[in-house]
């Protein structure tokens, strides 16, 4: 089966730094993939190249089987929600109306119910919205577009915890009703961990982790307790870190914490 998103040897070089370095990733249809990485790792650059908003320096990009660059037929099946999206002097309803023209599968009912959920004032100028509301608007557009490839680039900048939960719930509900390829880049790993089916981690422009979320979850664990018991448990397993609390004299036994690897790990790239 052809992957929905297929990237091979993708490189993006800027004058003073290398944003993406020889990335090769294949993402199948009907999956929610988490794109993880530190600030400046290259997540946004990758997503923008997938949405044809950025140009690759080298490598091959295929979305839905074709190169998305300047490809109207493919581009109208891709939506990218960016946290730093610049809008013209639109009001909220004008942005939604423009999006409804450009995305053939636009779901107006869903858009209206999401606007209500996020409490967005339809008549307000977008530049007068708070940061969180602008993010909410981006999310409304991303979900209501019903695009075959839906890319979220840290879409919840400024969203409060309640609104974030609304986003996760609505995303999951819509994904269950209309399975498609969703890529979600995030820092808030704990919150989205349960949503993700697949994890791709990027560090300094290279893919360092790529595998099913379950495998990644099962590949490491944290063990805490009395130091002696912890050491016994860990044995010869590979560990990422150790911490040891030595209490003063005349106190109970020292405690230790270890992050240990075990079980089937995800494919790690050197």
């Amino acid at each position: 089966m052809t992957a929905t998103i297929s990237v091979a040897g993708l490189t993006r070089r800027y004058r003073d730094h290398l944003a993406l370095d020889d990335i090769t990733v294949d993402l199948e249809d009907a999956s929610i993939t988490g794109l993880l990485g530190r600030n400046g790792a290259g997540k946004s650059t990758l997503m923008r190249i997938l949405a044809a908003q950025e140009f690759p320096s080298a490598g091959r990009v295929r979305v839905l089987g074709e190169n998305p660059m300047e490809n109207d037929a493919i581009l109208r099946r891709i939506v990218l929600v960016r946290e730093d999206q610049l809008f013209p002097d639109f009001r909220v309803y004008q942005a939604l109306r423009a999006a409804s023209w450009c995305y053939p599968a636009w779901d107006d009912g869903l858009a209206r119910s999401l606007v209500a959920d996020f409490d967005l004032p339809a008549n307000r100028l977008i530049k007068k919205l708070s940061r969180g509301m602008r993010s909410a608007l981006g999310i409304v557009i991303g979900l209501a577009a019903q695009a075959d490839v839906t890319l979220f680039d840290e879409p919840y900048a400024g969203l409060d915890a309640v609104a974030r939960q609304i986003f996760y719930d609505r995303l999951l509900a819509d994904y269950a009703a209309h399975p498609r390829t969703v890529v979600l880049s995030t820092h808030l790993i704990d919150e989205v961990a349960d949503l993700l089916e697949r994890v791709v981690m990027i560090d300094r422009g290279r893919v360092v982790l790529d595998g099913p979320a379950d495998d990644v979850r099962g590949s490491a664990t944290t063990v805490s307790g009395p130091a002696v018991v912890v050491e016994q448990f860990v044995g010869a397993r590979q560990t990422w870190g150790r911490r040891r609390l030595d209490p003063g004299p005349g106190a109970p036994a020292p405690l230790g914490t270890v992050v240990a690897a075990g079980g089937h790990g995800a494919r790690r790239q050197p």
Binding site: R48, A51, A52, Q53, E54, F55, E70, N71, D72, L75, R76, R77, I78, V79, L80, R82, Q85, L86, F87, P88, D89, F90, Q94, A95, R97, A98, A99, W101, C102, Y103, A147
Partner: protein, 230 residues
């Protein structure tokens, strides 16, 4: 094709900016010119031509700039390719130019019929450029408008790609080109023939020159568009 139409519709979601504002500014310039003509010494001049018509052309230029400088990022985010965005915006320029040119032609006819709005003011009857039969007036005013919109688009694209410094460099490059042209004309002793060319240029000939300029601007703008990112 649909994507181009969507791009044009996208701009018109800001109906006020493109459809109302130019005429509001024109009305303001019109009223200002009446006041100047009637209430200031400028009215003592036998030449009754006032320059207020230029105002709507300035606004159209600004519309061209804004159609890219402010509107491009969200347009690309909506899945429009650069080519479609550009052709859709150019389509809007042509449509606006053609329809607004027609309105200007109609207003010129009314001006003629009312003997200059009752005060012998030549607002729409621009000497040399908008003289002649109505269809030439339409052609010239329409093409000039499309040209200024396209010129604004190109400035907007240069701004998107290279920022303020880029815009200044762009303007400076054009000025340099004009100066170089003037120097070459001086060396080649060509001023007489240049002057002769423009003197014998009919109004329709002028439109032809403007169309060539318009096509050059559209090609240049597209070259800048191809590698723009937001």
């Amino acid at each position: 094709m649909t994507a181009s139409i969507n791009a044009a519709r996208y701009h018109l979601a800001q109906r006020f900016n493109y459809l109302v504002l130019p005429w509001m500014v024109l009305l303001f310039a019109f009223l200002a010119d009446i006041v100047i003509l009637e209430l200031t010494p400028a009215g003592n001049d036998p030449n009754r031509w006032v320059g207020g018509l230029a105002s709507i052309y300035c606004v159209i230029f600004i519309c061209g700039v804004v159609s890219v400088a402010r509107s491009l990022p969200f347009g690309l985010a909506l899945g429009l390719s650069r080519r479609s965005y550009y052709s859709g915006t150019a389509l809007l320029a042509v449509a606006l130019g053609a329809s607004y040119g027609l309105v200007i032609t109609a207003l010129q006819a009314i001006e003629r019929a009312t003997h200059g709005w009752g005060i012998d003011m030549a607002f729409f009857r621009v000497p040399y450029i908008l003289e002649g039969p109505w269809y030439i007036t339409w052609l010239t005013s329409a093409v000039a408008m499309m040209l200024l919109f396209a010129y604004g688009m190109w400035f907007g694209l240069v701004f998107r790609r290279w920022g303020l410094a880029g815009v200044i460099a762009f303007a400076a490059a054009q000025v340099t080109l004009v100066i170089v042209g003037a120097v070459v004309a001086t060396w080649a002793d060509a001023w007489a023939s240049i002057g002769h060319f423009f003197h014998t240029l009919s109004a329709s000939g002028l439109s032809g020159v403007l169309v060539v300029l318009l096509l050059a601007l559209l090609v240049g703008g597209f070259a800048t568009m191809r590698r723009v990112t937001v």
